[in-house]
Amino acid sequence: MYNNILNNLPGNIRNIVKKINFSLNSILEIRLRVNQPLQIIGYQNDFFISKKGAVTDNYNQAYKIKKSDLKEAMLILTENSKYALERQMREGFITIKGGHRVGFTGKIIYEKNRIKTIKHINSINYRITREVIGAAEKVIDKLYDIQRDIVYNTLIISPPLAGKTTLLRDIIRILSKGNHKIPGKKIGLVDERSELAGAYKGISQNDLGYRTDVLDNCNKNEGMMLLVRSMSPDVIAVDEIGKKSNIKAIEEVINSGVTLITTIHGNSLKSIKSKPGMKNIIKNQFFERYIILSKKKEIGEIKKVLNTDYKEVTSVGV
């Protein structure tokens, strides 16, 4: 898995990261900022890395990122084919093999009041994606109505880096495979950022079960409607809703009788209600389950699962 990250780092940094003498398992992000120290973000804290791959707090000892490192990184990331990644260049991230997301910032170029592309990249962030098989085992029973044999419309609410994508991916895997209680469901996945499936050239690299159809690199709103029309899914899964433009598509999916499982950035149900459009969705009880994540104790910690009355679901099948 880490080879995918290593292969996409520029040569100098790749050699340094290879020398790091602790497990790559504890790394969340690798950050390259021009003229700044090479920085690694772990679960608990962050630190600088010296030229020899040693952990240091000292700015002077740390390896300073050069402009040429960033240039090389972008060449590797875009595989010398910018035309194939126009949308990603506009949105500020590229998903590499393995589903890892690499974000970047630089000088924004506008065209017709819209971001056209990002030039002169000054900062790159390699976010390491982990497939945590079993992350959803604890909640899966609470999302399923045994009597009616349906999966509840579910919204996962989570701050960034708290594991919502990982949780959603595992929910998809379990539902798609089925378990001793839940028969396997047909899942349609709209993977706008290629993060959930980690698809490379359209083929899913992550385990998404036996019954999952993936629309890779597809706009959420169009993708959801396409799946409803063409793939007769039991469940549609999408990551990171919350824009006003998503609301209509969400309503249409739920009204068409397909279950929707999705995620949104936020800390609590209250904070979500303040987003335009979401207030109505919540008031109209489109979602039947809310999973609230927190990263206070550890990443992926499930704070609580709420039902339509915002009461905590404790027993299964209620």
């Binding site: 040569g11 090389e72 595989e79 010398n80 084919s81 910018k82 035309y83 194939a84 126009e86």
Partner: protein, 173 residues
């Protein structure tokens, strides 16, 4: 006498062959320029319709054209897939120069190829299409030149080969 006849035959045949060889280069250039035109069109389609990654697109192009021109595309694709973070134009320059001798292209054709390589993959789809169109136009002009030159010089070099060898024979014997 026997020696003389063998000598005459040798001089005449080698002169003729040299003439044929030179004329063949003109014909080969036209053929290779045609192939390059085909390669550009094919790559353009891969870029604008399929947004295929450059390394895959080059590999596909290489299967459509003949050796030795295909070498440039094949080797560049291979180098790119090593993911060393080398800019494509550096790889392309190296491959075009390395394979220049085994191809029948001329310096002006090479310059067009190099210009193309410096712009491939560096912009969005729209600009790539424009670049491909421009390069295609330039190649078209060279094709026209090449055909005109071939019309004039193919026969000329063949006759010159024969006539020069005859001149040598007359002078020596």
């Amino acid at each position: 006498m026997g020696f003389k006849i063998i000598g005459i035959i040798l001089i005449l045949s080698s002169g003729t062959l040299i003439g044929w060889y030179i004329s063949l280069q003109y014909i080969k250039r036209i053929k290779q320029l045609n192939e390059l035109q085909l390669a550009i069109n094919f790559l353009d389609a891969e870029i604008s319709f399929n947004q295929t990654l450059l390394k895959d697109a080059l590999e596909k192009v290489a299967t459509r054209i003949n050796y030795p021109l295909s070498e440039i595309f094949n080797n560049s694709a291979r180098e790119l897939s090593l993911k060393k973070g080398i800019s494509f134009n550096i790889i392309w320059d190296k491959e075009v120069n390395k394979n220049f001798e085994i191809n029948s292209l001329r310096e002006e054709d090479k310059q067009i190829l190099l210009e193309w390589g410096h712009k491939l993959g560096t912009t969005g789809v729209e600009k790539q299409e424009k670049i491909n169109k421009l390069i295609s136009k330039k190649l078209e002009l060279e094709q026209k030149n090449a055909r005109e030159q071939a019309d004039k010089r193919v026969k000329l070099s063949r006759y010159t080969g024969v006539l020069l060898s005859l001149l040598i024979i007359i002078l020596f014997y």
